[in-house]
């Protein structure tokens, strides 16, 4: 509190300026006013009654607008669950007989209602305006409000529907070459029907766009974007990285650097830390000072005998399971049938997950601490190969507030992974904000890689604030990077995400990082940090020794010069005396 009015005025002016600045600088994310209001209930019918990748995809889409999303299985939902709900979703991912309660379940509900997929005929008479027929295949979609702008999507099956006359067709689709278009998303008053059974980032771009209308969200038509320099481990050539950083600095583009603190040689098992790569470390620090933001990309980016950057770290890819055991132990995962009771099975799974938690925690803690000890401050996390179990994401969410990349959506198979069209905070990420990567990367052996990426970008521009984010491996050289970045710059309405300007935090033992007015702030318990591993004080000691060694060389050089001067002095004195 200020002591005089003047001081109060001054500080309040500053506050206003700061607030305006924050709004002005902040990347458009889900708008705040809607978030407080929308309360979403998603009733789902899935294959086994559990939440799976399809519901999580929907979660990602909806959580762009609100943080209040509840998922309840159609087997368990009760009338009570609908209380205060503003937006109701039913997602029938599979054909099923819904409980008889459904006939009257929605009688008292008058809010926005979106039905997706199958079983819409069992939702009382709410969706009487839709008559599902058989399935059709489409690979081109467009908004009916903009029929010219047709764009290609991956071929997908839709439910062919007939609708009543008072129903508005919002999205339609067809097969290339066909004349007939089929309705995909239709609207009748505040009821929407989305005629697909599976949701994915690319196929759901237009649905994502219409969700803005459904949630009445007036987001800015700006495309947040990022470029992420990928797999920067201690053996990466610092020269390429430095040159790329320079280009980005020149262009004034903020960017991300996905850093792996340890490189593990797959043959010798030898580990290299950044402490052994002072050149690269210098470059990274320089980048952090300029536009770069450090993203922790695992600790070793490998497991068992795999190579850093190639291997999986938080997924046991050989067994296609989460990491449930040490690398040298083989385990055969048991399923529910192997147990007498469900409780026994659940306790078995809990034990495995406890191991996984400890494994991830130790690696993440070490990763954060090690980088911080170097003076690098990770602001977000990206799982190696984007692979991680749901339990893993929960663990990560205790360390990071921001996640970067794509998301593994199923614990059954790492290959079930996807992105989403825009920035979101899906409920399964436990509060983490997801900055999705949507455009992929420059594949080394694909000459058309950049072209393909731009084609993807075209798709994501069909959503108002669709994300345009890509990553690049600096070892591919500067030339291809220049090509990529200049193509990305051409994308209309692009705003580059600067992690330092977003509100985020990172926490680990002895370390707390957050951002304030575009600056990285770090509360570090130095003593605790230095005591947590001998490597940490050793790094500083080695740095000091390095300086001392150079100091010795310099002082030695000065002594040499002094002795030469003394010698010349004595020789000339002798000559004088003799002369």
């Amino acid at each position: 509190m200020g002591n005089s009015r003047g001081a109060i005025n001054k500080s309040s002016v500053l506050f206003v300026i700061a607030t305006v600045l924050i709004f002005w600088l902040n990347v458009p994310t889900g708008s705040a006013d809607i978030k407080d209001e929308a309360k979403v209930l998603v009733i789902y019918t899935s294959r086994d009654g559990e939440i799976d990748e399809y519901q999580r995809s929907l979660d990602m889409l909806i959580s762009h607008f609100t943080n209040d999303v509840t998922f309840i299985s159609s087997e368990e939902v009760e009338k009570n669950d609908l209380r205060n709900v503003t937006h109701l979703f039913y997602y029938g991912q599979v054909n099923a007989r819904l409980p008889s309660t459904f006939v009257t379940l929605f009688d008292d509900y008058s809010g926005t209602f979106v039905a997706i997929g199958y079983n819409s005929d069992q939702l009382g008479d709410k969706f009487a305006f839709v008559t599902p027929l058989h399935e059709r295949e489409v690979n081109q979609v467009n908004l009916t409000s903009n029929k010219e702008d047709v764009f290609d999507v991956i071929s997908q099956n839709i439910i062919h529907i007939e609708v009543t006359e008072d129903t508005e067709i919002v999205i339609e689709g067809k097969k290339i070459g066909d004349i007939i278009s089929y309705p995909i998303l239709v609207k009748n008053e505040n009821h929407y029907f989305y005629a697909v059974d599976s949701i994915s980032s690319q196929k759901s771009i237009l649905f994502g766009e219409i969700l803005h209308d459904i949630f009445n969200a007036n987001h800015d038509a700006k495309h947040p974007a990022y470029i992420r320099l990928e797999d920067i481990h201690p053996l990466v050539d610092p020269e390429n990285v430095r040159q790329i950083a320079e280009i980005l600095k020149e262009k004034n583009i903020p960017y991300m650097v996905a850093v792996i603190p340890v490189y593990t040689n797959p043959i010798t098992g030898e580990k290299h830390h950044f402490s052994n790569s002072p050149e690269l470390l210098k470059v990274l620090k320089e980048m952090q000072k300029d536009g770069g933001s450090i993203v922790l990309h695992g600790y070793t980016h490998q497991f068992r005998e795999s190579e850093t950057g190639e291997g999986f770290e938080f997924w046991d890819v050989e067994n296609n399971t989460p990491v449930y055991a040490p690398p040298d132990e083989t385990i055969t995962l048991q399923n529910e049938n192997d147990f007498n009771t469900k409780a026994e099975y659940e306790s078995y799974i809990r034990n495995l997950q406890e191991y996984e938690r400890e494994y991830i925690e130790s690696k993440i803690t070490r990763g954060i601490q090690e980088l911080v000890n170097y003076g690098l401050y990770p602001l977000a996390f990206e799982a190696p190969h984007y692979t991680m179990s749901q339990n893993g994401y929960t663990v990560i969410s205790e360390y990071f507030s921001t996640y970067v990349g794509q998301i593994q959506l199923s614990d059954n198979d790492w290959e079930i992974m996807d992105s989403t069209p825009y920035i979101t905070s899906p409920s399964f990420l436990n509060g983490m904000q997801l900055l999705p990567e949507t455009l992929g990367y420059v594949r080394p052996d694909d000459p058309d890689a950049i072209q393909n990426m731009m084609k993807k970008a075209e798709g994501f521009q069909h959503t108002k604030d669709g994300m345009l984010a890509a990553f690049y491996h600096p070892y591919l050289g500067v030339e291809r990077f220049v090509k990529l970045i200049s193509e990305m710059e051409k994308l209309p309405n692009i705003t580059w995400i600067d992690l330092k300007q977003t509100d985020l935090w990172v926490k680990a033992d002895h370390v707390e990082i957050y951002t304030e007015n575009g600056e990285i702030k770090a509360d570090i318990n130095r003593g605790g940090l230095l005591l947590s591993s001998l490597d940490f004080p050793l790094f500083h000691f080695k740095k000091f020794v390095g300086l001392v060694i150079w100091g010795m060389a310099i002082v030695g050089g000065i002594a040499v010069i002094a002795f030469i001067l003394f010698t010349i002095f004595l020789q000339s004195r002798k000559t004088k005396m003799e002369g």
């Binding site: 060694i549 030695g556 002795f563 010698t567 020789q571 002798k574």
Partner: protein, 424 residues
């Protein structure tokens, strides 16, 4: 691990190099200052103190005559001078030569030691000589020394004008410097030793080590100390420490010059230096690890210096050599990088410039030929010391473990000094 060892060795080496550079600067500053002290020396004609010069000689027939001749040439009142040549159990003509001179010159006295008091080494001979001496000031010369006529005068003047000096040390020069490459190297080494270690330590710490010849000490002190330690291999270092313990210092006065003969072949060099090194190791054990109390804490500088030189510095050099060689065979993943080469070159340049500065302090020593000898010295002569120290440490360890008796090796002398002297 290899990295750690490399850094340790570098620090050990460079600690020593910097200490030497520091001493060299002291030597340089002493040279600039020394003229003043020399000008300020005063003595009234009647007050010259009586001086006894002790010359221990054990089978020195080759050189003893020249030494005695140079004593006769000394520029000092002969009634105040007493030259005591100790014929220590010689089996050659040494005794006869001494006797022939003592008959002719009243100030020359011959002392012949006989068992059981004979052949006990230099310390024993000196103690015998001391018994027969009468001077207030005792000076010592080795049997191969030919001091310049003013040498004793300067030593005495220096002592008389400096009450705090318990002893005074002159400078020695190599008479056979141009004999071969070895003596040329030794000549450079001795000049550097005297300007760097002796003059440098004197300038900074008021400390000098008695080199065994061409020094003078007050009789009172010697008596208080009970003479020389007959067990010590390098009785001079030992004596120096005891002088310091009494609260005196030892002055370095380079104007008092003697010429001495240095080993002309490696075998003799090796034996002589082994004795020195073992002597210094003996001193380290006696004072640093032993129970003997050091009254004058200044001596720690020297003991620490010895300790550093013999164990840590040479250990460091050896270690870095080993790492270098091993790294040629297997990659040790050394992380030091470019700075190691910078240090390598700087260290070499430091050596060369330091030695050249020392040479430039003497007339006609900084020649092109000597410059190249210095470069050659770094690669050969200096490296030889490593093996010498290892060997000496081994012998000392063996001696301690097996409780062997100390044996005195007498440095072998070489003929034809006259000829060389003319050429110098």
């Amino acid at each position: 691990m290899a990295n750690l060892l490399l850094y340790i060795s570098l620090f050990l080496i460079w600690y020593m190099l910097f200490y030497h550079a520091f001493l060299m600067i002291g030597g340089f500053l002493h040279l600039l200052k020394d003229g003043k002290f020399k000008k300020g020396l005063k003595i009234s004609l009647g007050s010259f103190p009586k001086v006894s010069i002790l010359i221990p000689a054990h089978n020195e027939e080759v050189v003893i005559e020249d030494t005695i001749k140079s004593m006769i040439q000394l520029n000092y009142p002969k009634d105040k001078l007493e030259v005591i040549v100790i014929n220590d159990n010689s089996s050659d003509l040494t005794g006869a030569i001494i006797d022939s001179y003592s008959k002719r010159y009243p100030f020359i006295k011959a002392v012949h030691t006989k068992p059981p008091n004979a052949g006990k080494g230099k310390s024993g001979a000196l103690n015998q000589g001391l018994k027969h001496s009468t001077g207030e000031i005792i000076a010592v010369y080795d049997a191969d020394n030919t001091p310049e006529p003013n040498a004793i005068l300067y030593l005495v003047l220096g002592l008389c004008n400096d009450k705090n000096a318990g002893a005074i040390v002159g400078k020695f020069r190599v008479v056979n410097a141009n004999q071969n490459i070895l003596t040329r190297l030794i000549n450079i080494e001795t000049l550097t030793f005297q300007w760097l270690a002796q003059a440098g330590r004197w300038f900074w710490f008021k400390m000098t080590t008695i080199p065994g010849t061409n020094f003078a000490i007050r009789r009172t002190i010697l008596e208080e100390l009970g003479g020389w330690d007959e067990k010590a291999l390098s009785e001079d270092t030992e004596l120096s420490i005891r002088v310091y313990n009494l609260g005196y210092y030892i002055r370095f006065f380079p104007s008092a010059i003697t010429w001495e003969q240095e080993p002309e072949n490696l075998k003799v060099w090796w034996k002589q230096r082994t004795r020195w090194a073992r002597g210094n190791l003996y001193v380290i054990f006696k004072y640093l690890f032993g129970l003997n109390k050091l009254v004058n804490k200044k001596v720690f500088i020297d003991l620490f210096y010895f300790l550093f030189t013999y164990f840590l510095f040479f250990g460091g050099v050896l270690l870095s050599h080993i790492i270098f060689v091993v790294n040629l065979i297997v990659d040790l993943k050394l992380s030091i990088g470019m700075v190691s080469y910078v240090l390598l070159i700087t260290g070499f340049l430091l050596f060369v410039s330091e030695v050249c500065l020392a040479l430039s302090m003497e007339r006609n020593q900084l020649t092109i030929k000597n410059f190249w000898t210095v470069v050659f010295m770094y690669l050969t002569y200096s490296q030889m010391w490593i093996f010498l120290v290892i060997y000496s440490s081994f012998l000392e360890m063996k001696r301690i473990v097996l409780r062997q008796e100390v044996k005195w090796y007498k440095t072998q002398r070489f003929k034809s000094i006259e000829k060389q002297k003319q050429s110098v």
